[in-house]
């Protein structure tokens, strides 16, 4: 018997992702995306990664999706119509989906390549060994400022680069020679 919460949130995530793919209205797609991201965050919680679940809701479902909704409302012609739609590409997409889904089911369920061990005991909140899986946010800080200090600095610099890049992209173009 599977965990009921996992089944519920997996179904929610997949249903919301289908809404994202299938809805003709971009705003509805964005709502489906938010729901799917919240479902993934719930799965993070079920995997005892509480800090990442909170980050997922704050950064992804919060900030990033608000950005998406702003842009959707800024651009006017976001609704798609069925007329002139290349149904060949839809058939191709459907074929790719069934191919990938069947491959995932075969690889993870039937092939036996993934060990079917249960998760075991709940991980500790903190442990002496810094690289052991812990649930407290402190476990992230300990590794980020020791083993992963250089990647952290690079990520911070990357955020600065993205900030400057977005500002320069959003400026009005000086020469309108298009």
């Amino acid at each position: 018997m599977l965990d009921g919460l996992f089944i519920f949130f997996a179904a929610l995530t997949l249903g919301a992702a289908s809404l994202l793919v299938l809805s003709r209205n971009a705003v509805t797609s964005a709502m489906g995306m938010i729901l799917a991201l919240v479902g993934v965050a719930a799965d993070f919680f079920l995997l005892d990664a509480y800090f990442l679940g909170v980050l997922q809701v704050l950064v992804y479902a919060g900030a990033v999706m608000v950005l998406f909704l702003f842009v959707i409302m800024l651009l006017t012609d976001t609704a798609e119509s069925a007329e002139g739609y290349p149904w060949k590409s839809a058939a191709l997409g459907l074929a790719v989906f069934f191919f990938l889904a069947a491959g995932a089911v075969w690889l993870f369920v039937w092939s036996g390549a993934v060990p079917s061990t249960a998760a075991g005991a709940t991980p500790p909140e903190l442990s002496v060994n810094p690289s052991e899986f812990v649930t407290a946010a402190k476990g992230f800080g300990r590794l980020l400022y020791t083993k992963y200090l250089l990647p952290l600095e690079i990520a911070g610099f990357l955020l600065l680069v993205a900030l400057v890049g977005v500002v320069s992209l959003s400026k009005d173009p000086v020469d309108e020679n298009a």
């Binding site: 012609d77 690289s131 812990v134």
Partner: protein, 102 residues
């Protein structure tokens, strides 16, 4: 959590990735295509967290932390590019942006 195995979470991640790739292939609105790309990235992070939890090591979770950081920056730049494209061409439909093909 007691009864789910690694395979369950990986299956969920794989199906999410398949849905995202399908959206990228099927949709014509660049914004929705971009959202589907983000969905594929999220599916990958889900697999990383599952591996991290079941192997009882912190490295995968730290990796996901960096992925979320970089994805936030990447979304900002990508949306700025889409807005710039819209201001120049007046469209965000991938089947109307075919100047290089024609």
């Amino acid at each position: 959590m007691e009864n789910t195995t690694l395979a369950h979470h990986l299956l969920l991640a794989g199906l999410l990735f398949a849905l995202g790739l399908t959206g990228v292939l099927v949709r014509r609105n660049l914004l929705v295509v971009y959202m589907c790309l983000e969905l594929m990235l999220t599916a990958a992070t889900l697999a990383l967290v599952a591996f991290s939890r079941f192997n009882r090591t912190m490295d995968g979770a730290i990796f996901v932390f960096f992925i979320i950081t970089v994805a936030a920056a990447e979304v900002a730049v990508g949306l700025a590019l889409i807005v710039a494209l819209y201001r120049r061409r007046g469209s965000v439909k991938s089947d109307e942006l075919v100047t290089l093909r024609d």
